[in-house]
Subunit: 134 residues, 2 copies
DNA sequence: GTGGTATTGATAATTATTCTCCATAGATAA
DNA sequence: TTATCTATGGAGAATAATTATCAATACCAC
């Protein structure tokens, strides 16, 4: 993971390593502010701007996926490959929708019908999650 | 369309009618600023806040669909039912991806596998459109 | 170690969207 | 038609996430 960064002329710093670790370990989908709070425990002088800059680098690297929600992006570092996200309107939880087939099928269909070269996708389903239904 | 509004206790005004007409007629997917410019031709004193307020009402009514792009929402008034949007990274065009099957299949799969009640969806595919490939 | 350069932190700037508040216009009933 | 009640409109301020600026610092190849 760090070789990928260095190949692009980027440097591996303690901040970036820590952010990568948090993204890889944490189960959730934090936003910039939440990452900021977590990193401040280890690096009390870290700036919010640094979070955004680091996330930008990691996004370009494909190591982190941005879930572009309305005026509040969240980030997925566990599974940076394209997959749907299920967002609960009640508890706000973001559930990873891997295990969903048809994705390749949809991609292929769009490619053929519209002659559109897909580079990335953002599939968000809003609704009510299992826990909030009871 | 206007009865729908009135049922909810909303009033049909000349501004709203004009905005509905523009949304229904125009082929594109304008954002708030673009709608503001178009409406200013007819109503020079209209405010940008009015655009946002009207769009909010129409969204709640289901007459307009919000394409929630990064810090710049665009709106779809032609086909307010859920369908994918193909966004070209080169020319910025937004293409309607109706005619795409598998959507119901994906919805059903998510419903079953995750026991998730889908209320709305936002399916964005980023890439290169047909025109920009040549 | 040293030097060149990417990164950092503090803060200002930007930008889309929302809020506030009062004036006005639309609907309803007499 | 007129009076009245309430939703809507306009102007500008306020909000909040994100980005830009820039001097100081830390990383890494040599």
């Amino acid at each position: 993971m760090l070789t990928k960064l260095q190949d692009r002329g980027s440097r591996m710093t303690s901040h970036r390593l820590a952010l990568l670790r948090i993204m890889a370990v944490s189960e959730g989908h934090p936003n910039a502010a939440q990452l900021y709070e977590k990193l401040r425990e280890q690096f009390p002088t870290i700036s919010l701007a640094t979070i955004y800059k680091t996330l930008l680098v990691l996004k370009e690297d494909g190591q982190v996926f941005e879930i572009d929600m309305h005026n509040d992006s969240h980030y997925d570092g566990n599974k940076p490959y394209p997959h749907p996200h299920l967002i609960c309107n009640k508890c706000g939880d973001i559930i990873d929708g891997d295990d969903v087939s048809f994705l390749d099928a949809i991609g292929q269909e769009i490619q053929e019908k519209y002659n559109f070269q897909i580079a990335q996708s953002q599939l968000l389903f809003y609704g009510v999650c299992q826990n909030c239904q009871s």
